[in-house]
């Protein structure tokens, strides 16, 4: 155990963190809830270890346990956590306080929430060295200033005096990182540090963390649900399921030869570049994560496992076993049958589907603009009479979508994709241009003035199912109400019948009609959201980040479900997302937006291959891919999204573009260049030049049939 993977330092150096047999529990009214069981982990100096798993698997509890920060109702029940040789359980409150923030520091998921809103950034940074090392205020200021510069913040002076809400999300996270690194910790705990950030920002943060930890020699414990990200940042990973590690080992070993059916299942859920919605659809893991007090006997994954063997897998608790591979002596797995299972034979992705034939054009967006007036009431603007400024949330948006087609709208937050959805739904009306659904212009009709047919024909699946279902009404009532309002049925018995059919469609038991949203899991709620959207047989459904709030295995199931229903109803699907992997997997055509404008559009193949718009290129590079064989060119964008109030005069992307030609980019709007019929790029760079750009992602030419 002392030398987990023979990597890095010699055997002389003791490990930074040594956890053995750790058991963490919470105490509730129902009794003891074991959150983490039988957990072993050793992290050497400078090593970076990942902890992967879906929500509720106990990965954050481990981080809190290491910090001994479990709240009033939680605690260490068994095992030891040794940090730099000291047993954390034996430290006094005062001693543990000195370890926190000094020797072990943490970086959090939501930087905005992690920073105190009413203290300046300077105050929050300076207190770290002042309290831990007793340095003077001047020195604390200087150190904080230098650290902000070290985390690549362009204007540290201004930032020091700012309050957290005044800086962007990416910068907030850099501040949190700076705060963690100020006292040169030996161990950094990162709890989903980039989950709340945009992909291009994430890429920058990931690069920064890797750089800084290499410089400082700190060890990292990186917690995430994102396998692709793990591949980029970790040396080793532990896969957790329902409170225990089910598989651990060197990153390459786990990604290339996953032994545990759960690990294998996870990879089957991720839309990797070689996945295809028709030829090689995602294989969701059946069932759902058991609650801590409902864990089955034997293997916890048993009920969801394709290779489950009754009498064997459900007999005793499964111990970790060594997988003796030559490449990775530390590869261990918690499965009795790891040696017997032929994963390639098990995985059920032999199911193929016929591609949907795209029919006539259903939705046409023609030169749609949406401007918002922003009133300013400062004295200066009152005098200069420029009290009203315009924010161009959408500028000349044009595209169309056919029956049964999936069109993805891609872009980061602030690109105008949600405004576009609002105009479509009638929550806003277009300033100019038309949005025609079956020939009728809906862009200027607000939602209250739309006929029930118009409302029913254009529906939406929302991002966060927790917020979009009314907590005080039953599922059946909420779906039934839509059916009634859209005038599809009026007889209560028929409505109920239809509700049941819709629940069948989204693969939920009919009994769920009587349940309240709080009795459902996230994935089930999203299924209800989909049932609600499809209640009126819509022609077009807008899915606004429908899977980004869901766990990997749940997201796969919801994605597949959405496509099944689409196939059945020949629905036009507008898929709004920032997740390019999902977009590549399920869309036929892609529209890339930046700051309210279309940068590139075309079929999925066209957009994902050169010629790229430089922004598309950067987006593609930013998305982590959970496949070690995929080679990726690294492009990290500098700077922030410009304010929509003050957009660049020329090309909107000119301030961050890695291929900027010169002043023409700043001064003149780019021409729209047609590559093929339907594939257009708005850029000053000639197409010939863009065509010569190397692909960002190189997928190895492997025929999976051949390897089996």
């Amino acid at each position: 155990m002392a030398d987990p993977n023979g990597k890095g330092n010699g055997s002389g150096e003791p490990p930074v963190l040594e956890i053995s047999g750790l058991r963490l529990s919470y105490y509730t009214r129902a009794g003891e809830v074991p959150a983490v069981m039988d957990f072993d982990l050793t992290i050497a100096k400078g090593e970076s270890v990942g902890l992967v798993g879906e929500s509720g698997c106990g990965k954050s509890t481990v981080a809190n346990g290491i910090m001994r920060y479990m709240g009033k109702n939680g605690g260490i029940v068994g095992g030891t956590i040794k940090f730099q040789g000291r047993d954390m359980a034996e430290l006094s409150e005062e001693e543990i306080r000195r370890v926190r923030g000094k020797d072990i520091a943490m970086i959090y998921q939501e930087p905005m929430a992690a920073l105190n809103p009413s203290l300046t950034i300077a105050a929050q940074l300076m207190e770290v060295p002042m309290i831990h090392e007793g340095v003077s205020e001047e020195e604390a200021f200087q150190r904080s200033f230098d650290m902000l510069a070290a985390v690549n913040i362009p204007d540290p002076k201004r930032l020091m005096d700012s309050y957290p809400h005044q800086v962007s999300g990416g910068q907030q996270q850099r501040v949190v990182i700076a705060m963690a690194l100020l006292s040169k910790p030996a161990l950094l705990l990162l709890d989903e540090p980039t989950t709340a950030l945009d992909v291009t920002v994430e890429a920058g943060i990931v690069e920064l963390i890797a750089e800084l930890s290499k410089e400082s020699g700190a060890s990292l414990l990186y917690i995430s649900h994102n396998l692709g990200l793990m591949l980029e940042v970790c040396d080793r990973i532990c896969v957790m399921y329902s409170g225990e590690v089910v598989e651990e080992g060197h990153i390459d070993s786990i990604f290339s030869w996953p032994k545990h059916p759960y690990t294998h299942g996870l990879f089957g859920c991720i839309p990797l570049p070689h996945a295809d919605k028709n030829a090689r659809p995602l294989a969701a893991i059946k069932g759902q994560l058991p609650l801590p007090h409902q864990r089955p006997k034997g293997c916890y994954f048993g009920p969801r496992c394709e290779s489950f063997q009754a009498g064997r897998c459900d007999a005793d608790h499964i111990p970790m076993e060594d997988v003796h591979t030559d490449d990775d002596p530390a590869h261990r797995v918690r499965c009795l049958r790891w040696n017997e299972i032929d994963h390639d034979a098990v995985v059920s992705n032999e199911t193929t589907r016929e591609p949907i034939e795209v029919g006539d054009t259903v939705l046409e967006v023609d030169n749609m603009r949406k401007y918002y007036d922003v009133k300013e009431s400062t004295l200066a603007t009152l005098i200069s009479r420029e009290a009203v400024r315009q924010v161009k949330a959408n500028e000349s948006i044009s595209f169309d979508a056919g029956e049964g087609e999936t069109v993805a709208i891609v872009g980061e937050s602030g690109c105008g994709k949600s405004t576009f959805a609002k105009v479509l739904m009638g929550l806003e009306t277009a300033t100019d241009g038309e949005v025609r659904l079956d020939g009728t212009d809906l862009g200027s009709i607000e939602v209250k003035k739309r006929t029930p047919e118009q409302l029913a024909s254009l529906q939406m699946v929302f991002q966060n199912p927790n917020d979009t279902l009314n907590p005080s009404h039953s599922v059946g009532y909420q779906i039934g109400r839509v059916i009634k309002r859209f005038g599809i049925e009026s007889d209560p018995a028929k409505i109920q019948d239809r509700v049941h059919k819709l629940l069948d469609t989204v693969k939920l038991p009919r009994a769920f009609a009587a349940r309240k949203p709080r009795q459902l899991s996230g994935g089930q709620k999203q299924r209800v959201g989909i049932a609600r959207a499809f209640a009126g047989n819509p022609k077009t459904v807008i899915a606004d980040e429908p899977i980004s709030a869901l766990d990997v295995s749940v997201a796969a199931a919801v994605t597949e479900l959405l496509m099944d229903i689409q196939r059945e109803h020949r629905t036009t699907l507008l898929f709004i997302s920032h997740d390019l992997s999902a977009v590549r997997y399920l869309s036929d055509r892609v529209v890339v937006m930046y700051l309210g404008q279309i940068m590139e559009r075309g079929t999925t193949e066209e957009v994902f291959a050169p010629p790229y718009h430089p922004y598309t290129e950067a987006l593609l590079s930013a998305v982590p891919i959970a496949d070690p064989e995929v080679e990726k060119r690294r492009i990290v964008l500098e700077g922030n999204l410009p304010s929509p109030l003050d957009p660049p005069k020329g090309c909107p992307f000119s301030t961050r573009c890695q291929r900027k030609v010169g002043s023409i980019c700043d001064d003149e709007p780019p021409p729209v260049r047609l590559d093929t019929e339907g594939h257009s790029i708005a850029c000053h760079i000639p197409l010939e030049e863009l065509r010569e750009v190397e692909p960002v992602i190189t997928i190895p030419d492997r025929d999976l049939e051949a390897t089996t």
């Binding site: 910090m67 306080r97 926190r100 000094k102 105190n116 009413s118 309290i131 309050y163 809400h165 004295l379």
Partner: protein, 310 residues
């Protein structure tokens, strides 16, 4: 910020003028009623009419309103009908007395309320929290006249430590202030304490408190520097509202201890239709109400940088 202050002050003046107009309409809307209260119940109709013409009450009410505003601005509050003296001679003394009582109570109450509220809220659900919560609910639900009697029984009659009246007949005496301050504090601190508790408990669940804990800051430092300021934002408005109540709502306590204050003056004036005293007191009360709310709003903005730097 300066712009905000200017806007708020403008707003304040507007509200003052509007409320003063209502006050004026209610008191001086019917000139005969004024004449009647000045001249007494036995005056003849002709006398009333003559008085009205003589004192210019036959003019349009808005003209009189503007004139009245002008007089008030120049410091002339008119004459008291009962005391037959300028209102100025009685009014400021009484206001000053209540100012002292209210000021002392305010300071004591805010300190007690915030301390207890923070102590309760920082460990939600603990014994400490429950004891404080029950205590503050209990004291708040005992009306002032009841606690005045109860405290007088303990400290005046049983222990004999404190004087039973606070009329300050032989000049200002701090000891005489103790009982009224106690009664007011007991009654009033509960609202602020419970508000602070709720706000503090909410703040303590915020991720930034976890950040502060895991930065290894001492608990005291976390409470004082990270939690308190955020926890004060919500109770601040309630604290400001207390000033209003302390000025005009203390009449029961003033009566109970024979304290010659503003509340007692207003009550007397109202009972005896002493119009100019009512107007003076009303205007003062409105001014304090509007002023404290303005300060409250500005302070709120100051405490919350998310509003300050939009």
């Amino acid at each position: 910020m300066p712009q905000l202050i200017m806007r708020r002050i403008g707003m304040m003046i507007l509200i003052m003028l509007t409320v003063a107009l209502l006050l004026f309409l209610m008191n001086e809307g019917d000139p005969r009623l004024i004449a009647r209260s000045v001249l007494g119940p036995y005056a003849q109709d002709q006398q009333l009419d003559a008085w009205i013409v003589q004192h210019g009450y036959d003019r349009h009410i808005l003209v009189r309103y503007v004139e009245w505003i002008g007089r008030v601005m120049s410091g002339d509050l008119g004459d008291s009908i009962i005391y037959k003296r300028p209102v100025n001679e009685i009014f400021w003394d009484r206001l000053g007395n209540t100012g002292i009582l209210a000021g002392v109570t305010f300071v004591v109450m805010v300190i007690v309320a915030l301390t207890l509220g923070v102590l309760a809220g920082m460990k939600e659900g603990s014994t400490q929290d429950r004891v404080i919560s029950v205590f503050s609910i209990t004291t708040t639900s005992i009306p002032e006249y009841a606690s005045a009697v109860l405290l007088a029984w303990i400290f005046v009659f049983t222990l004999g430590w404190l004087p039973g009246t606070s009329s300050m007949t032989s000049g200002f005496n701090v000891v005489e202030l103790i009982l009224p301050v106690m009664v007011l504090t007991l009654y009033g601190f509960g609202y602020v304490a419970r508000m602070t508790r709720a706000s503090m408990a909410e703040v303590m669940t915020n991720p930034y408190i976890r950040t502060a804990m895991l930065k290894g800051l001492p608990y005291r430092h976390i409470i004082m520097k990270h939690a308190l300021r955020n926890a004060l934002i919500a109770p601040f408005t309630v604290i400001m509202l207390q000033i209003n109540w302390l000025l005009s709502g203390v009449v029961v306590t003033e009566f109970a201890f024979g304290y010659k204050g503003f509340g007692a003056l207003l009550l007397e004036a109202a009972l005896r239709r002493d119009i100019f005293v009512i107007e003076a007191c009303g205007t003062a009360a409105v001014f304090v109400a509007v002023f404290t709310q303005t300060i409250g709003d500005l302070g709120y903005t100051y405490l919350n940088p998310r509003i300050r730097f939009k």
